[in-house]
């Protein structure tokens, strides 16, 4: 216990919060129900004028810093707002978060955080709540602080806190600190996959942090867990409060019924039971380690899910129809409901299920759930459509092996030839280690790409991966981030290899890659862009530069 209260630095160095006096107060009143929120608010206005003043100063300071940073083009200026405000008043996040009438929902896990919180936001807006999110980008402490500070007044109060609920997307490693200072009504754990091992060390260390999180969580918080992921499901066992599970119950989605023999290889990040170290066996497996599992040694198995997708079928590339059966709301007269998900892939079925479960935990009826999900507009990089020079661009973020595999499965499982641009970066936010690309089934893409452009700071590594997957070298265009200096000086290589010279054309970087990929794609067709995290940001920046997307820091509450 002592250890986790120490000031902690995140890998980005965003966080320097320990447990302080007012945090204790918040923890005592962390039920997050409207009454409690209001009571805390009154206490704040009466007895804490000084802290309000301090909070106000922090708000002004943070927002000034943000404005300056944007003006000076130092970046989006979103994280700096929170950083400066936190410097000036370390409890600013707790101070502001307590003022929300409907409290906060926290979404964490490796994959699907952004889409899941997007679904939840859409549902809650349709239910008439005012939804606030940290969607300006950062899901580390700085970004969470920013999202609140941006919406606060110089008096230290939130601008419009009535009917307000915040949905915070939180990095899986920062979650212990966040739940200590933000009163939380619902926490969702989507899944745990291998991601950025160079940053977190090992998958197991994240599991440990999650268990610590549960120890500090108020019993009034509702825990929403993925039943199909052994790691998240396991968290429910030790928790004293209410736990709701969601999962897929459609046997036709089992991998063994769908896969060809050459696709046997799948990345599995969790194989052994955390209790006894026994191996899991699967009655049904949907992807990676997600499915209906059972430990061969101690017999622990997937818990029964309250919210289940009992039938899933794909109508179109991005239209998935699922029949949901729910036991959450005992009073509801309808236990089953058909929901249309306007996004591709089985991973979005999980995201939608998580959102349905959260909504029902907050006692929201089917109607806003159905409309919220069906009319959901994809978030940047998660299937969004952008029109560029007569072509359609679709961005599909893929930041780790499981995510990448699911994107490839979505793109290539129908056997349709696609135009594709892959962007592989190895910046800190992507993870410096890119050896995971060898665990991705690029074999799926062989003979199924009409256009294939490979770009990013590790474009050559990805080209090599594709070569060993069986893609002919002349079928792909490689655009590196920078020239190879030795080759340029040498000169011989460039001239001897005519094909390569033609393909490289002496230009580098993301703008060039985008141009090449767009021009290789015939007018009227779709180019699928599959980038890692910073690759996505670069693409976004490039599209902004061309006036094709709004600037992300302008996103305020909807």
């Amino acid at each position: 216990m002592r250890k986790q209260r120490r000031p902690v630095r995140t890998p980005r160095g965003d966080l320097r919060l320990g447990r302080r006096k007012s945090t204790l107060n918040h923890a005592e009143h962390s039920a997050g129900s409207p009454e409690t929120g209001a009571r805390v608010r009154r206490r704040l206005t009466h007895s804490k004028r000084r802290t309000s003043l301090r909070a106000g100063l922090a708000v002004v300071g943070g927002r000034t810093a943000g404005a300056l940073s944007r003006r000076l083009h130092l970046g989006g200026g979103t994280s700096i707002v929170g950083l400066v405000a936190q410097r000036m008043y370390p409890d600013i996040v707790g101070h502001l978060a307590t003022q929300l009438e409907h409290g906060s929902v926290i979404v964490t896990g490796t994959n699907g955080k952004t889409t899941t919180s997007g679904f939840i936001a859409a549902i809650l807006s349709d239910a008439g709540l005012r939804v606030w999110r940290n969607r300006e980008g950062s899901n580390l402490m700085g970004g969470i602080a920013s999202s609140l500070v941006i919406r606060a007044l110089p008096t230290g109060h939130l601008r419009r806190d009535g009917r307000a609920i915040s949905i915070l997307e939180v990095d899986e490693a920062v979650i212990p600190q966040v739940v200590q200072i933000v009163p939380t009504r619902v926490v969702v754990f989507t899944n745990l996959f291998r991601d950025q091992l160079d940053r977190y060390g090992e998958v197991d260390s994240v599991t440990t942090r999650w268990q610590q999180t549960l120890e500090t969580l108020s019993k009034d918080t509702i825990l929403v867990l993925n039943a199909d992921d052994p790691t998240t499901a396991h968290l429910g066992e030790a928790f004293g409060g209410r736990v709701l599970y969601f999962g897929i119950d459609d046997p036709t989605l089992d991998l063994s019924t769908q896969q060809k023999t050459d696709e046997r290889h799948q990345v599995i990040d969790t194989r052994t039971c955390p209790h006894c170290g026994g191996e899991y066996t699967y009655k049904l497996r949907f992807f990676s380690h997600l499915g209906h599992y059972r430990c061969t040694r101690c017999g622990r198995q997937r818990p029964q899910a309250e919210v289940r997708a009992i039938k899933v079928q794909s109508d179109d590339f991005d239209r998935t129809r699922m029949q949901v059966s729910s036991l959450v709301m005992e009073t509801a007269n309808k236990k089953e409901q058909e929901i249309i998900i306007p996004l591709p892939g089985i991973y979005n079925v999980y995201n939608a299920l998580a959102a349905v479960t959260v909504a029902q935990a907050l006692e929201i009826g089917w109607e806003p759930i159905v409309t919220g999900i069906e009319q959901f507009k994809p978030i940047f990089g998660r299937g969004e459509r952008i029109h560029i020079e007569g072509r359609t661009l679709r961005l599909l973020l893929a930041k780790n092996p499981t995510g990448f595999n699911e994107v490839l499965r979505t793109l290539f499982s129908e056997g349709t030839r696609r135009h594709v641009l892959f962007v592989l970066n190895d910046n800190i936010a992507d993870g410096r280690d890119i050896s995971w690309i060898w665990d991705v089934d690029f074999e799926r893409a062989v003979h199924l790409t009409s256009t294939l452009v490979v770009a990013g700071s590790r474009a050559l590594d990805l080209a090599l991966r594709l070569k060993y997957a069986g893609v002919a070298e002349d079928e792909m265009i490689t655009v590196t981030s920078a020239p190879l200096r030795a080759m340029k000086r040498d000169g011989t290589l460039v001239t001897r290899n005519k094909r390569r010279t033609k393909n490289r054309n002496e230009r580098y970087g993301i703008a060039e890659a985008l141009d090449k990929a767009v021009h290789e794609t015939p007018v009227g067709e779709t180019l699928f862009v599959v980038p890692t995290y910073t690759g996505l940001l670069e693409i976004q920046h490039e599209l902004e530069r061309r006036g094709l997307t709004p600037r992300y820091w302008e996103g305020r509450d909807s």
């Binding site: 194989r271 050896s435 590594d461 080209a463 190879l484 200096r485």
Partner: protein
């Protein structure tokens, strides 16, 4: 005897514990070995050796062990001792090429001493040992370049343990990165044809010369000339030991290095040089490109 025939060459690779030790894209190494063999008409069969499977040294020509998380290494260490130890030792003493990465490397040394808890015993193939100095000592994470055999090897390392060499020879000298322990600029360990290294996952794709070296060692061991002429035939040409197989007779004059015809590795070397340049090793990058890509 001059008309030597190029036989149908077959190699068998034993992949140890792929279910437990598969953390860092180890599949890439296997894929590269398979394809580089296939392109030369050599068939590489990959046999998976999990926990509980026996290791019969005669059945393999090459072995591979990957890296894993601590929790998954404990049952592996136990199996290595109880089930595969003798077979593995016999194979290594018989010059079988072995590539052990990260966790696999640590398990082939004497012991792994975690920050807390008891030591994990290794096989002691390499005269080396590993100590984890606790969570306050930073992990060795990042790109790495080392010298090897007059050339360079590039890769990525991510390990908490620090390995110290006794009499074991390192694979090479660290040019950039941490290596075994971030102190003595050594990386990896060699014993006979067994190689232990911290360069994980994508080691072989960007280092085709090292991949070919391992294949050549395996071919040499299986099909090499000296193997049977020394031991099986006396001066009078009489069989002294068991009669060699027909396959071995046909390959009597066969030189394994000839089987390793050069492949088009320009992309591999470009990726190799690109990484060297990013680490500031301009001259090494230039040397690599002028040796291999011109």
């Amino acid at each position: 005897m001059n008309d030597s025939v190029t036989p149908q060459l077959t190699l068998t690779l034993g992949h140890l514990y792929p279910d437990q030790l598969n953390l860092y894209g180890d599949r890439g190494n296997i894929l590269v070995l398979s394809q580089r063999c296939r392109q030369r008409g050599i068939e590489l069969r990959v046999v998976v050796l999990g926990i509980g499977d026996a290791l019969a040294p005669d059945e393999y020509d090459m072995l591979f062990i990957g890296g894993g998380q601590d929790r998954e290494q404990a049952p592996v260490a136990q199996d290595l001792h109880e089930t595969k130890g003798i077979g593995l030792w016999a194979a290594i003493e018989d010059d079988m090429p072995v590539l052990a990465v990260c966790g696999g490397y640590q398990l082939l040394a004497h012991y792994y001493r975690p920050a807390s808890g008891p030591d994990m015993r290794g096989l002691g193939v390499f005269d080396a040992w590993t100590i984890h100095k606790g969570p306050q000592v930073a992990r060795c994470i990042g790109d790495i370049a080392i010298s090897w055999n007059g050339s360079t090897l590039v890769g990525f390392e991510n390990h908490g343990g620090r390995t110290y060499l006794g009499t074991a020879q390192p694979i090479g000298k660290v040019l950039r990165g941490y290596g075994n322990n971030a102190e003595d600029a050594t990386e990896g360990a060699i014993y006979r044809n067994a190689y232990g290294t911290y360069m994980h996952g994508s080691l072989l794709p960007k280092n085709p010369h090292f991949a070919d070296h391992l294949i050549e060692l395996a071919l040499q061991r299986k099909y090499g000339k000296k193997d049977w002429s020394d031991s099986s035939v006396d001066e009078a040409g009489e069989w002294t030991q068991e009669v060699p197989s027909l396959e071995r007779l046909k390959t009597a004059n066969f030189d394994p290095s000839l089987a390793l015809t050069p492949l088009d590795d320009r992309l591999e070397w470009e990726a190799h040089a690109f990484l060297l340049e990013r680490m500031g090793l301009q001259n090494a990058a230039k040397a690599v490109l002028s040796t291999h890509n011109s």
